[in-house]
Subunit: 271 residues, 2 copies
């Protein structure tokens, strides 16, 4: 098992959790006390991390929410990654994809500068664009496969050899997985898509956004997404956790994580 | 004609140039004098800009080369964009793509914070992921269509309805072009691909990397890529310009730009 998968599995079992919290800070929704902090984004994230680190299997940081604040946003990103306990995996949701020498720069930025444990990447340019990430054998690489946004069908569902493109992507990533450090990003949509992908990659971790503010069906995800151990999925929730309540936002976030975690554990028969 | 296309056309005609210089700084290749500057990336870029701004139609900054240096790299990015004369378009080669609320953040970062004139985006998630960029009617949006890297065929050449996927992408982007601010990224590969794409989008600007260090054939690009005015392509060159010579790198860059510009003008019969 690759080092990233080991770290992920240890967190899943220690915290009995398949919940990944998306740290996608939106300053417009911060409580007044946080807004007045010297570094509001970091202050917000730190409060969320302190309240949830023992109940999640991972954190995911979407880089757009940091880049929008310019270089200072990237400083908040850097501080946030450092504030997460070492035994909780941190995923850069960056969806990068570029030719090999450029992809190497992106991988170096995310894995060496910011020291993320894993990153999301876009497969549209083919294996070249992914390989520099895969070459970091101790990190995880989640390749976009199927998304849950309304227009994902524009391209991902196009028919290739009689089947939707996203299944071809799952097969390709399976072939790219020489170091055992690949995963897939799979939008929580329906049992058929999820089951079709899981059949192609029986042991790969699936990063599943689309629970909470984006809709989605927890029962379907657990029934059709988990691997034979009842693990292998990271269900990401962001807005439904971060903004669960305006007052005492951090403790409300903790409650929301635990509710989601326990509901998933009930569905997969884990106490 | 959309404001971005107007600005681009004005630069093309004023400087009689279809050359886009890729400002992709690699500190390992900087001359010693630049390495000792307070902000080496910015010092290098400024020297290149001063020597080439009257001979290019645009600059393209690949964000990976800045992100790899952390927040300080983004500060160099910010300073570089500001140092480019207002009448020369600046393209963020970011290849972003994410669901709509996230894409909005990426668009805001690139168009509002850094004030780029245009950006490259990835179409894999469909129209949702591109629309927030298109909504900036005064900016340009270059959608990845066909790339020149060895594994671009993994996905871009898959057969959909009897034709390669990249032609379907060109058709989609044509449909997305309600504000007239779309372009395509087309790797310089061969006459057939380029001509096939140009037939679908007769008036759209094509951003063409792959000249210089990446190989490619200038004559094919001019013959099959240009629009009916002998314009409509931005031929990007980066390493072959930036590192044309170790000594007097900036004047060597100028010479390399002018050689490329004049060769393209000869091929399209412009003096």
């Amino acid at each position: 098992m690759s080092p990233f998968l080991q770290k992920l599995q240890a967190a899943v079992r220690r915290n009995r959790s398949l919940v990944c919290v998306g740290l996608d800070p939106d300053p417009d929704r911060f409580p007044p006390a946080v807004r007045d902090a010297a570094d509001p984004i970091f202050a917000f994230n730190r409060a969320i991390i302190e309240q949830t680190a023992d109940a999640v299997c991972a954190y995911k940081l979407n880089l757009a929410f940091y880049e929008v604040a310019g270089p200072a946003g990237l400083e908040a990103l850097e501080r946030t990654v450092k504030a997460i306990p070492d035994d909780v995996p941190v995923i850069a949701d960056a969806k990068r994809g570029d030719i090999d020498n450029t992809a190497r720069m992106y991988a170096r930025a995310l894995f060496e500068y910011y020291r993320f444990d894993a990153a999301t990447v876009n497969p549209y340019m083919g294996r070249d664009a992914v390989q520099p990430f895969l070459d970091y054998r101790d990190r995880g690489v989640f390749v976009l496969c199927l998304n849950s946004n309304p227009t994902a069908h524009d391209i991902q569902h196009l028919t290739v050899d009689g089947r939707p493109l996203y299944l071809r992507i799952a097969e390709m990533v399976n072939e790219w997985n020489a170091h055992g450090n690949c995963g897939l990003v799979v939008g929580a949509t329906n049992a058929e898509s999820l089951g079709g992908i899981r059949a192609i990659v029986p042991e790969m971790p699936l990063l599943i956004p689309g629970i909470g503010a984006q809709g989605g069906d927890l029962q379907t995800v657990v029934a059709h997404g988990t691997d034979r151990n009842g693990e292998g999925i990271l269900v990401n929730a962001s807005r439904s956790i971060l903004y669960a309540a305006a007052a005492d936002f951090a403790t409300a976030a903790r409650s929301a994580v635990i509710t989601l975690r326990d509901e998933m554990n009930r569905l997969r028969s884990v106490r």
